[in-house]
């Protein structure tokens, strides 16, 4: 009896860490601040949805990047290759299923899209496994070489994609039932953006569940905090890392499919172009933090849509401005992780 009582006391004595909810407020504040500026409510709804959709897709792509960095201090400058790969695979799969993508039935459209996404996830994951083996493993712990070698991996990857699919842009039309927009009152919301938000949210929730409710998630989070401690407890962090890298690459492939559909065309250079955006997002979020990455991605999406509407010239620099402002407020990003 007595021992359990002291245990209870010890539990009470453990200081509870107050969760840092301040960054969560940024999104509603940002959205509400944009409301009077945009003028009409319907425009605001359209812009907000566009921003959220874009943010969700960026989050899907960037989440793997930030986790990989958090776990192993590896920043993959070649992450963009998986995006491009996913998008090009989608053109191949969907291109062969035009009968289904062109039909008006939503079910058939989904049945066409599903294998495209599956192919992107599987192939990008497999390539990720090879990429980790060949490119990243030999240069652990050497940041300078890492930056260069992942860059080199990207050059080779993009060239190989050009070998298979050619160097030209390939159109990637949306399946028929996803085209057009829905009207909520006066506000028009594109159907595809709605889908992107739903899929993105689904992936975020699944990832959140894995990270906070499963043992693997616990180990990943612990590894991000302090790798050596987890290793000394007998877990092979190297294997965990490979798993996270593969998952991150697969998600980037999935994000590539969604980004390609969002742009409705894919080019071999698309991955490299998004790379800059990804870096901004993970810096804003705090390197290694998935929650921060989520908020950062949505903010980048919202800001670039609002700015694109209000001041198109400024929009090109809006992301960098956002990053500077956030870093002035919190130099480590929204959530600083572990010892960094």
């Amino acid at each position: 009896m007595k021992s359990s009582a002291t245990a209870g006391q010890a539990m009470d004595a453990l200081p509870t860490v107050k969760p840092d909810r301040l960054p969560l407020l940024l999104l509603p504040v940002l959205a509400l601040a944009a409301l009077p500026l945009t003028g009409s409510f319907s425009t605001w709804v359209t812009l907000t949805f566009a921003g959220l959709a874009m943010g969700m897709i960026i989050f899907i792509i960037a989440s793997g990047l930030t986790l990989v960095f958090g776990l192993m201090d590896v920043l993959n400058f070649g992450h963009g290759v998986f995006i491009t790969l996913g998008a090009f695979l989608a053109t191949s799969v969907l291109g062969r299923m035009t009968g289904w993508t062109e039909s008006e039935s939503l079910l058939r459209n989904l049945l066409a899209l599903l294998p495209a996404m599956l192919a992107a996830v599987v192939v990008a994951g497999a390539v990720g496994l090879a990429f980790e083996r060949l490119i990243i493993r030999p240069v652990y712990g050497q940041p300078l070489k890492q930056i260069m070698i992942t860059m080199g991996g990207m050059i080779v990857g993009v060239e190989l994609i050009k070998v298979v699919w050619g160097a030209q842009a390939i159109p990637l039309p949306l399946p028929a039932a996803f085209r057009g927009s829905l009207l909520f009152g006066d506000a028009a919301v594109e159907k595809y953006r709605l889908i992107a938000v739903v899929v993105g949210l689904g992936i975020f929730l699944a990832m959140f569940w894995v990270l906070s409710r499963t043992k693997v998630g616990l180990l990943i989070r612990a590894g991000v905090q302090d790798r050596e401690m987890v290793e000394s407890l007998g877990y092979r962090i190297g294997r965990l890392f490979v798993g996270v890298f593969v998952a991150g690459s697969a998600l980037a492939g999935l994000g590539g499919v969604m980004w390609g559909l969002y742009q409705q065309s894919v080019t071999p250079e698309m991955g490299g172009q998004i790379n800059v955006l990804l870096f901004i997002v993970i810096i804003i979020g705090g390197m290694g933090s998935v929650g921060g990455c989520f908020i950062g991605a949505l903010m980048v999406g919202l800001v670039s849509n609002y700015a694109g509407f209000l001041a198109p010239k400024v929009a090109l620099f809006s992301n960098i401005l956002l990053m500077v402002i956030i870093l002035l407020w919190r130099p480590q990003g929204l959530y600083s992780v572990g010892k960094r």
Binding site: F77, L144, M148, G152, I155, V156
Partner: protein, 357 residues
């Protein structure tokens, strides 16, 4: 010995390397006579410009251990400085000087600001931040179309002495007409050699040794009493100024400048490849790297065309040796050289020279 002084006491240290360097210099000097035609001359000029640019990048990457992706930004500032000045002031030497001076000031200020803000942080952050800044600058240059000509760029006239219309002598000499282009070419070589020797002087000065110390062990360098942030910022500024000068040379040679010729990210990748393949941390590497890369870039395609015709209709192989895929092979060489010979071609040659003695 005067020769040793010229090279700042840092000779090639490998007979093979010395031979190659002399061959490159001789090749450049005799290009107008040995290889007639505009393409060869342009390739030679590009080699000169990139030797300066790559050496300046090596100052940062190889000697100080900083990865920056904003190097083409400074290259672009130099090119735009000359282009804008010559467009507005007219084709005079005053214009050239004004353009170069303005570009240098802008580069110095910009590199100082970037350096002070972000050189305190880790290498990774610096790489990411410079990447973002360079992208923003590229957008800025294509947006300010009144000043920069936007995507179309600027075409302008250079001072008469350097223009093709100028002629030194009526009759051609050894089959080559002595026009302004030829003068511009030799002026370019002279400036390249001078800038290269200057950089060699810098890296072999006590200042250069501190940079190398920071590269090897930053913590220790700080412990000995060197303010590493100050040195790294200086290195950043020096490297930026030389890149700016290289950009000015490019604009003067091409008599044109646009975002794709001096600012694009492809050029950044090219420079990175040249430094690594040639050999990081030795300026001779930039000579080898730039020469090799640009010759490959311009002539490998011809070779691959032959190969791709030879392969015929074998599906995958034909695409792999397609002339447009030259970067694939250089990319593979780049990855392999990081693993197999991190010191590049120069490092390999020097190691062989050491083994022999």
């Amino acid at each position: 010995m005067i020769f040793d002084r010229l090279l700042s006491g840092d000779p090639p240290r490998s007979r093979m390397l010395a031979l190659i360097l002399v061959a490159i210099l001789a090749g450049l000097l005799f290009t107008p006579f040995a290889f007639p035609g505009a393409k060869a001359l342009n390739v030679a000029a590009k080699i000169c410009i990139f030797i300066v640019l790559v050496a300046s990048f090596d100052l940062l990457l190889g000697y100080t251990g900083i990865v920056s992706f904003a190097h083409t930004m400074f290259f672009g500032i130099g090119a735009y400085g000359v282009a804008i000045a010559l467009t507005h002031i007219g084709p005079t030497w005053t214009g050239v000087v004004a353009g170069v001076a303005a570009a240098l000031v802008i580069s110095l200020v910009l590199s100082l600001v970037i350096g002070l803000f972000s050189l305190r942080v880790k290498a990774l952050f610096y790489a990411m931040i410079t990447l973002a800044v360079a992208t923003a600058f590229q957008t800025l240059a294509s947006q300010l179309s009144d000043l920069t000509g936007g995507e179309d760029g600027l075409t302008f006239k250079v001072p008469e002495l350097l223009s093709p219309a100028f002629s030194l002598r009526e009759q051609p000499f050894l089959g080559v007409s002595l026009d302004g282009r030829l003068i511009a070419f030799y002026l370019l070589i002279a400036v390249t050699v001078a800038l290269f020797l200057l950089m060699l002087r810098i890296v072999n000065s006590p200042f250069g040794r501190v940079l190398q110390a920071i590269r090897e062990n930053e913590f220790r360098a700080e412990a000995i009493g060197y303010r590493t942030v100050v040195y790294r910022t200086f290195s950043n500024m020096l490297s930026a100024s030389f890149a700016t000068l290289a950009g000015a040379l490019l604009a003067l040679w091409l008599r044109y400048n646009g975002p794709d010729t001096s600012l694009s990210f492809e050029i950044m990748i090219d420079i990175l490849l040249m430094v690594v393949i040639g050999g990081m941390g030795t300026l001779y590497g930039s000579v080898i790297g730039a020469t090799l890369f640009i010759i490959v870039q311009n002539y490998l395609q011809d070779l691959m065309k032959v190969a791709s015709e030879g392969v015929g209709k074998v599906p995958l192989l034909r695409d792999l040796v397609h002339p447009d895929r030259w970067l694939l092979w250089l990319g593979i060489l780049f990855v392999l050289s990081i693993y197999r010979f991190p010191a590049g071609v120069v490092g390999k040659l020097r190691a062989r020279a050491v083994r022999r003695t």
